[in-house]
Symmetry: C2
Subunit: 112 residues, 2 copies
Amino acid sequence: MTADTLSRTFAALADPTRRDIVARLSVGDATVNQLAEPYAMSLQAVYKHLRVLEEAGVVSRPPGPQPRSVRLETGPLNVMDEWIEQYRRRAEQRYQRLDRVLAELDDEEPEA
Amino acid sequence: MTADTLSRTFAALADPTRRDIVARLSVGDATVNQLAEPYAMSLQAVYKHLRVLEEAGVVSRPPGPQPRSVRLETGPLNVMDEWIEQYRRRAEQRYQRLDRVLAELDDEEPEA
DNA sequence: TTGTCTTTCAACCACATAGTTGAAAGGCTG
DNA sequence: CAGCCTTTCAACTATGTGGTTGAAAGACAA
C-alpha cells in the first residue's frame, strides 16, 4: 500500500479494460467468468485487473459461495468526482469572471 | 499517441505531483518556474509532467513571450466527470431500487 | 552579438504494469 | 473421497513511467 486512494482510483480507471469492467458492473453484479467472457486475455489477467480495482476500493467481492460476485462500489467514484469538480468549477468561475471583465472593457471602449 | 483521451486523462491525474499542479493552476495561470518552485525535483522533470498533462489536454501552453504561461483546461475534466457520473449514478440508482425492494419485503413480512 | 534564461532532446536507471504460462490451493457437489 | 471449477501464487517478458544528468536549441535583452 504505497499510493493514496485518489492515485489508486485514477490509476485503476486509466486502463480501458478496467473502465469497461466498471461500466458493465454499473448495470449489475457479475461473476469473474461473466466479466472475462468478452476478452481475449487469460482469466488470470482479469483477476489481476479486479485486484487493482479492489485495492482502489472501486469494486468489492463480498464473501459467499464459490463463484464470488463482483460489485461496483461508488465511494471512490464519489471522492474522485468531488476532486475533479472542485478544480473544474474553480477554473470555470475564473474564466467567467475574465469574460465579464473583457465584456466591460468592450462597453467602455467600443471599437477601440 | 496510443491511448485514448479518457485513458490519458485518468493516467495524467494518477500522479500526485500532477494533481497538485492542476490544483494550483485552478487558482490561476503560472509559469513553469513558479510551478516547479515547491518541488525538490529537477526542472526537466516538471516539464515532463507538464507534457503528460498537455497531451491529455488538461493543460495548455498558449504561444507568447518566452516564459510561456501554463493554463488549466476544463474540457478533459468535464469528459472525465461525465464518465464517472454516468456509472456512479447508474450503480446508486440500482442500490436504491434494491433498498426499496428490501423495505417492501420488510413491510410484508415483519419479524419473519 | 553575446549572454542568459527557457525549453526541449537524449540517454540512462529503477520500478511498476499488463500480459503470459504453469502450478498450487480452496471450495462445492456427485 | 474424487473431481471440477474458482481463485490465487510465482516466475517471466515487454513495455511504460518518473526521475536523473548533460547537452543542445530557441528566444529575448543588454
